[in-house]
Symmetry: C2
Subunit: 502 residues, 2 copies
Amino acid sequence: MSRVVDITELALRDGHQSLLATRMAMEDMAPACADIDQAGYWSVECWGGATYDSCIRYLNEDPWERLRSFRKLLPNSRLQMLLRGQNLLGYRHYEDTVVDRFVEKAAENGMDVFRVFDALNDPRNLARALEAVRRTGKHAQGTICYTISPLHTVERFVDMAARLRDWGCDSICIKDMAALLRPQPAYDLVKGIKEKCGADARVHVHVHSTTGVTMVSLMWAIEAGADVVDSSISSLSLGPGHNPTEAVVEMLEGTGYATKLDKDRLLKIKEHFAKVRPRYAEFESKFLGVETEIFDSQIPGGMISNMESQLKQQGAGDRLKEVLAEVPKVRKDAGYPPLVTPSSQIVGTQAVFNVLMGRYKAMTGEFADLMLGYYGETIGPRDEKVVELAKAHAKKELITTRPADLLKPEWEELRTQALALPGCDGSDEDVLTYAMFPQVAPKFLASRAEGPKNVSRKAAPAGAAQAPADGSGAAGKKPVAGPVAYKVTIGDRSHQVTVEPA
Amino acid sequence: MSRVVDITELALRDGHQSLLATRMAMEDMAPACADIDQAGYWSVECWGGATYDSCIRYLNEDPWERLRSFRKLLPNSRLQMLLRGQNLLGYRHYEDTVVDRFVEKAAENGMDVFRVFDALNDPRNLARALEAVRRTGKHAQGTICYTISPLHTVERFVDMAARLRDWGCDSICIKDMAALLRPQPAYDLVKGIKEKCGADARVHVHVHSTTGVTMVSLMWAIEAGADVVDSSISSLSLGPGHNPTEAVVEMLEGTGYATKLDKDRLLKIKEHFAKVRPRYAEFESKFLGVETEIFDSQIPGGMISNMESQLKQQGAGDRLKEVLAEVPKVRKDAGYPPLVTPSSQIVGTQAVFNVLMGRYKAMTGEFADLMLGYYGETIGPRDEKVVELAKAHAKKELITTRPADLLKPEWEELRTQALALPGCDGSDEDVLTYAMFPQVAPKFLASRAEGPKNVSRKAAPAGAAQAPADGSGAAGKKPVAGPVAYKVTIGDRSHQVTVEPA
């Protein structure tokens, strides 16, 4: 008898987020749902900050309606979301009752599993959201953001897991968003958590595939006792995305571990997304290969391209190497935050400033906030001199309390503002949309009635958006089929002329 | 202290063979050689049947000159080649003294490690070549082609390894050309060989990455004691190629195993091929993702596209499913040959014939030869009725001797024919080129003096041959922005005409 390893399918959220800039329309996911629902997954991740943002920013889709659609289309599946702790799906801390309300509404609309994380791994930023999930009776998953630094030891991570477990989390997730989790620490972490929290402590493992090592890390995590691993159907996998679901199934064959997945269903899901993906080629991640440099630089690929463009704007495109060398120093000064959104941008921009203007001669407001505790606690002590500079710069004091403790009740004000927006239907869901994305929500609410806008190239024949193997280039090379209208000016006279193949 | 795991770098042979149709020119590999030579590889694979063929067929490069160049450019490295046993680098059996001469010449020109395999795993087809290698004092590596069938058990493979070891092979290679080697059999095979042949029996593991599971198989093979694993630098890896070298290095970090590779050198090699590869985009493998269907169908992707085009030529493009179902039956009738070149084509074509014309109503000459023992012995018994049909079709008898025993000395005749060709310089190397590829060699020898022809798009700016990330396709697709001026002549009068979008 094999031990069952369960699988969370990522295609509907992190898969297309990592590979296709989160642009996939609901109508392109819906046809795969019947197979996904019957394939035997433990859960189906389908909602999160970026998908919510993309829905209202680019797709004119109501994210709550998307959630309700998934609920209908996946009646037998656990729906799973990624929640940024006290930030919910936005980019700032929310006052506690907004957190409560968001979680309630998500549960009410069909969410089953809440994966709750904080970019700094400050447990105080997770507590309220986890508590809210527990009140709804849904699955509360406490998350550890994996990173590498002199202070990030297996012991510290295991301690954090124990704390999350003590708070009553239904499971612990090891979340490796930068593909830094090598096989040995994957094994040690899972083993450590199981030993400290008990064999019945559920451990989920989420890895990306960027560095090419994490398929092995999943295997070692499973050998150490991981209960659930995340993967994405092969046609939406690899590169900055995830390991392919079908390969996880096959790798376990004969090992004493097995998934419950139905391979025929997986093939259908794969074929569906293989057909859909080329239409989103213009949004595709530029680099789909393997990058291992991040192990040494600790700088995610996306962060490097951000810094490059900042430098170019300043006419200092040749100073990237200096900036790359500065990043680890800034990170150390800031107490070794994991480098993920938003800390990666904050640290990266400050490193650019330091190189261009001298160390901490100028400081972004966000970096000052990071140094002064307004994002939460970091694992390491922050450099005292830089803290002093941050105080002077921001004219703010250092805080040691939970950042959200500084916030006053804000729901009524958010509600009043939202209700004033044209198109707002007065629901709590609409107020939450406004609360999450106050810049984007007004335009979305006003245009919502026009219905979803699919941004893929629906008209293109299958595969047309990918480079043809014969190198002949895109459709534009084909001869013009019908008449084309031109304005032709001869001397000073203009003519409307139509031209068509003779 | 970590146990050292050695690495064979595949970029210069199987890497570009699997990803870029073997088209890479020597001049595009040469600049990476200094770093490759210093990176700490156990060996550098750089020569084989397809590279030899491609050199004379497409690149107007003398393959022997290429070998001598590698010898000069990689003075500290073991050069490694892939040799098809009694077929050498061609597509038929050669008489024994031709085998001897080829091996001698390869050793003389700088080859160090000979990986010798036979598509049917018939050890009799390996014996002479291995013996010839041993006489030169070079490294003789006996190879097991890994495949899946009801008869291909770990025990049978281990028995074959023991036999190769008894013949004095310096090492054993497990060669998984179709990415079918899952972690558990990888572990069992290496363990089995080490137990049966002794801990000092060197085991090398060669896998492709097509199915997405083999990085884990390499890890498990290492855990079982594998001495050397094969990989390809990341910018020439994945898809139908191999696992990325840098990822193998990183995966081992902290595990108690380590490579001797220099990461700075690897980064330079990676960057070199990342720059070169886009110029070969027109030759790039169409599918670079993960395919796991082969585990069930046992039909490699390349074989499916072959069968599809055969069916289409017959106006039977809709019958692929029947053919796919027929392949395992034909394979069983033929005694379960591994499905690799040439057996995959032979079995696949016969399956097409069976579906279109009725089972074995027609038979290819090659399939008849396979059934009658002219390619060698298969692991399983061949179907007696089909053997009878093959005799009738081919008007030949069944043989049980080693196929090459039927051949008469042929060197003198080959030499006479080769020397008659314009451009032949009379060397044994030229005679061997003619012997390997009698159809292609005459044209090559005649044009050799013109020098190498690089088939990459040298003129294209970096990355131009890849699909642009914004999806805008070839230049032709962009709309004309401003007015365009033409001189239009109607009859004998010329007009200045400007045209712009209406």
